[in-house]
Subunit: 195 residues, 2 copies
Amino acid sequence: MPKIVDHTERKTHIAEATWRVIMKQGMEGASVRNIANEAGLSLGALRHYFSTQQELLAFAMNLVKDRAAARIHTVAMQDLPPKDKVIKMLLELLPTDDHKMAEMEVWFAFTFHRKQSGERFDAQHDGILVITSYMLDYLDEHHLLNKELDKQLESERLYGLLDGLALHALLEPGRLGRERIVRVLTYHIDSICIQ
Amino acid sequence: MPKIVDHTERKTHIAEATWRVIMKQGMEGASVRNIANEAGLSLGALRHYFSTQQELLAFAMNLVKDRAAARIHTVAMQDLPPKDKVIKMLLELLPTDDHKMAEMEVWFAFTFHRKQSGERFDAQHDGILVITSYMLDYLDEHHLLNKELDKQLESERLYGLLDGLALHALLEPGRLGRERIVRVLTYHIDSICIQ
């Protein structure tokens, strides 16, 4: 009996093959041919799922975003003190394990590729500025946020800090490992909360 | 009479041509041939200054670093209140004008290219972690730094914030322009100083 393959599952499989190609060869290597090869599919079979390289890359990039959003949602459902919950949710956006490190590498490669090819970029794309803003509101609703803060600037500062840490962890995983990332992020959240 | 061309000046001219090629075509386009073309030199003439592409790229990347260091040094020599001086020095590392924006773009392209090609990276390379640490010591010596701070974590946080802001300004120059960068950075430095 032929194996019944779910359409979305197969697309996800192809997206993951795309990530592996990008990690090994960079965006330059992310041709449809190389990706089909990595996924163990013929070019024709791959084209059944994605008619253009653009479409495939967009799907693979969105999958990074969707997975991070799903992880954050899982933490949001947990029964945790508000401050711990915020820290744990934000950690889902940082490369603290091999899996998230790979996602981050793909994300940066995609982002620079898009910039290079002149595509418009806005913070709504990765959605992190919305998330940082939401986290501050959440702390505020729980009366944890320091009252003198400028929430708009705090949101921008947290957004900058997150991507800076992500970038540095990606470039220097040995120096900025999980433990140090947790310490810096906790230190930051503590600094904006009521002591 | 033939024009006497200074050796270093010519190398700088080639490095600047390299930056322009990278900005237009990305690292993929940064072949010795394209760079010679952009610099208005023959391949042979270019090889007189740089025998390998690697050597040329390393020189062009170091020039970004040297120019930033020179700008910071200029600010350091100015007669300014310590906090203003720190903010002004740190702004030299952020893309607040077209020139620094171009440098930043080249810097990120280089950095990712080096990572992609498996080269080792450490924070000493860009030297910014040393600079952030020095800035905190400077504020502390002038009795401006909040006493309860963990200077090591503050240095890491400032380093993260700087590169995060640089990255975001590069990706979204319209949203995160000079004025907003100055506001966020000033806000951050104020938050770690005695009120």
